[in-house]
């Protein structure tokens, strides 16, 4: 492929096409219908009758050894959690592009990051990637697919609806070659999640725990101007995009601010050591302090952590964040 100009939704669609995905089942509704429309133009979209059916079909494609991707927004992800759990137990890949929109309930289609705890929940959560710019989308989608096929676990690209609608000139590559999995691999006669014998169940769980320890080592984090930082902002997604601009502005007024941006939300990188060097940490997010609790839990109690959170579909406002930080340093 090459460079294409388009919205986040189109970049996601083209990335999936370039990765060789030829069936994406789904139910179009705002804001994700734009992605479905793009996939339909490429002959890749296929209609499903419900979220549950989409999840079952996608799991079926994975079991059949075919790359696919579910697309969800807002509360729709809850309907896919069962399939995610089954994919973990079957040990087949399963990928999801999840668009963060305002919740609870339908809320509105505007950006929000309220699904962090849901995506990270349970014993064996999916690997969750979070792009902070449109340009990063193809790279992280390819990485999501590669990890999902390498570890045979579910993986999610968690993109807020702001990035989904932002435009950019983006390089889209073909990504990694398709892995062998499911019945195509031909190494198992059947796939089940039923282990009525507790010893067998214990053995399976122990092997998954070992696998997840390996996955933990794949956590990714970006440090932005953290070398000499006295203050750190921790943020992901579009909030991290804004946080970097905030740090740039604060540096102009001689405030040594850096940004620590997790690229993978699950596994979550160890930030404890890096944050020991700073005087204060500011967590910027669009949720009811979900990232704050995660960061707080990792840090030494002596490290001060402040929360800046927006809700309802409002992005963190650059000047507002600057004033907030200035008022606390």
């Amino acid at each position: 492929m090459g460079v294409i100009y388009g919205k986040g939704a189109e970049i996601i669609g083209e990335s999936l096409v370039q990765l060789g995905v030829r069936s994406v089942y789904g139910i179009p509704y705002p804001p994700i219908s734009e992605l479905h429309e793009y996939l339909a133009q490429k002959g890749v979209f296929r209609p499903a009758a419900s979220t549950r059916e989409m999840a079952a079909l996608s799991l079926g494609l994975s079991l059949g050894g075919e790359r696919t991707c579910m697309v969800t927004a807002g509360t729709d992800i809850y309907g896919c959690m069962e399939s995610i759990s089954y994919a973990v137990s079957y040990e087949v890949p399963l990928t999801v592009v999840h668009v963060g929109k305002s919740i609870p309930g339908f809320g509105n289609p505007y950006p929000y990051q309220g699904d962090l705890d849901v995506l990270r929940g349970g014993d064996f959560p999916p690997v969750v990637f979070s792009p902070a710019s449109v340009e990063e989308i193809p790279l992280l989608i390819a990485k999501m697919v590669e990890m999902s096929e390498r570890f045979l676990v579910p993986a999610v690209l968690y993109v807020d609806s702001a990035l989904f609608n932002m435009t950019g000139n983006v390089e889209v590559d073909a990504g990694s070659p398709k892995g062998e999995f499911g019945f195509r691999k031909n190494d198992r006669r059947y796939y089940t999640t039923v282990y009525l014998d507790v010893t067998a169940m214990k053995k399976q769980t122990a092997s998954l725990i070992e696998k997840y320890k390996e996955i933990d080592r794949e956590a990714l984090c970006e440090s932005y101007m953290m070398e000499d930082a006295e203050y750190a902002i921790c943020a992901y997604g579009i909030s991290a995009y804004i946080a970097k601009k905030v740090a740039d502005d604060l540096r102009l007024s001689k405030k040594k601010v850096g940004v620590l941006r997790p690229l993978t939300l699950s596994p979550f990188c160890s930030i404890g050591e890096e944050m020991k060097k700073v005087k204060k940490v500011f967590v910027v997010e669009m949720s009811n302090m979900q990232l704050f609790r995660l960061v707080r839990g990792q840090l030494d109690p002596k490290v001060k952590v402040e929360s800046y959170a927006t809700h309802g579909g409002l992005l963190p406002e650059r000047n507002d964040v600057i004033q907030f930080i200035k008022g606390l340093i």
Binding site: P47, A56, S83, F183, V194
Partner: protein, 246 residues
């Protein structure tokens, strides 16, 4: 005078059934149907290509008994998983084997597959209750039948009218073959076997979805000995006609 004895084997244990002891209760129709399905796949020579997706319930581990590729599906999802596998593996013979309660818990998977004209086969064993739950009422439980969740017998005013599964599915264009068979007698089993074979052919010829509902016995939850359970199913079928409807 010497008598020459010639013997010819006319019937035997289906080669595709594994030698694992089945866990089904005595007289349970799942045992009968696992044998029927294994026989059909053997006779059609499709064991290399066949994949069975088994719905949640007493038969969710049927892959242990039928020696073909298989999947134990999440509740209500077997038909969707079968359609996804078929999309990935166009040459495979993919069927979903589900119970009445499992399929009724999410008919969207049937509606979706019918809407897209997916070429799969659905075998629905309707034993008129949720066997695995210890005999709770299923959407297909007939009026008057007592279950653990309709202890005085299902009534239209209390729990609502039963769903007639074949009739519900038949109306969709993507279902190109629809039939209701039974397993209450050897004759009924023979007819059902022919129906399932036809439903498989529908998939092989690329026509659409074949749907076969099979009335089955759950003697344990009917609280009846196997023979009486079979008689009870025969009685129930007076209200639910068997035969090909499409």
């Amino acid at each position: 005078m010497e008598i020459e004895r010639k013997t010819e084997k006319v019937y035997g244990y289906p080669g595709l059934l594994t030698d694992r002891k089945e866990h089904f209760c005595p007289g349970c129709s799942h045992g009968i149907l696992s044998k029927v399905i294994a026989e059909i796949i053997s006779e059609m020579g499709l064991h290399e290509r066949a994949i069975g997706v088994y719905g949640a319930g007493c038969a969710s581990i049927m892959y242990e008994y039928i020696g073909i590729k298989g999947v134990g599906a999440p509740p209500g999802s077997a038909v969707g998983i079968a359609a996804g596998i078929k999309d990935a593996m166009k040459d495979a013979l993919v069927f979903a084997y589900v119970g009445d309660a499992d399929i009724a818990s999410d008919l969207s998977v049937v509606i979706g597959a019918a809407m897209r004209n997916d070429k799969i086969t659905v075998i629905c064993e309707n034993n008129f209750n949720m066997g695995v739950s210890g005999g709770a009422m299923s959407p297909a439980t007939p009026l008057g039948i007592a279950t653990t969740t309709s202890p005085s017998g299902r009534s239209a005013a209390g729990q609502g009218n039963p769903l007639a599964l074949s009739e519900l599915v038949k109306g969709t264009k993507g279902v190109t073959y629809c039939a209701r068979g039974s397993s209450h007698s050897p004759g009924a089993v023979r007819k059902t076997k022919a129906m399932i074979k036809k439903a498989f052919m529908e998939q092989i010829f690329g026509n659409g979805m074949g749907f076969v509902e099979v009335a089955g016995m759950c003697p344990t939850n009917l609280n009846l000995p196997p023979v009486e359970a079979a008689t009870k199913v025969k009685e129930i079928l007076e209200e639910l006609p068997t035969g090909e409807t499409k």
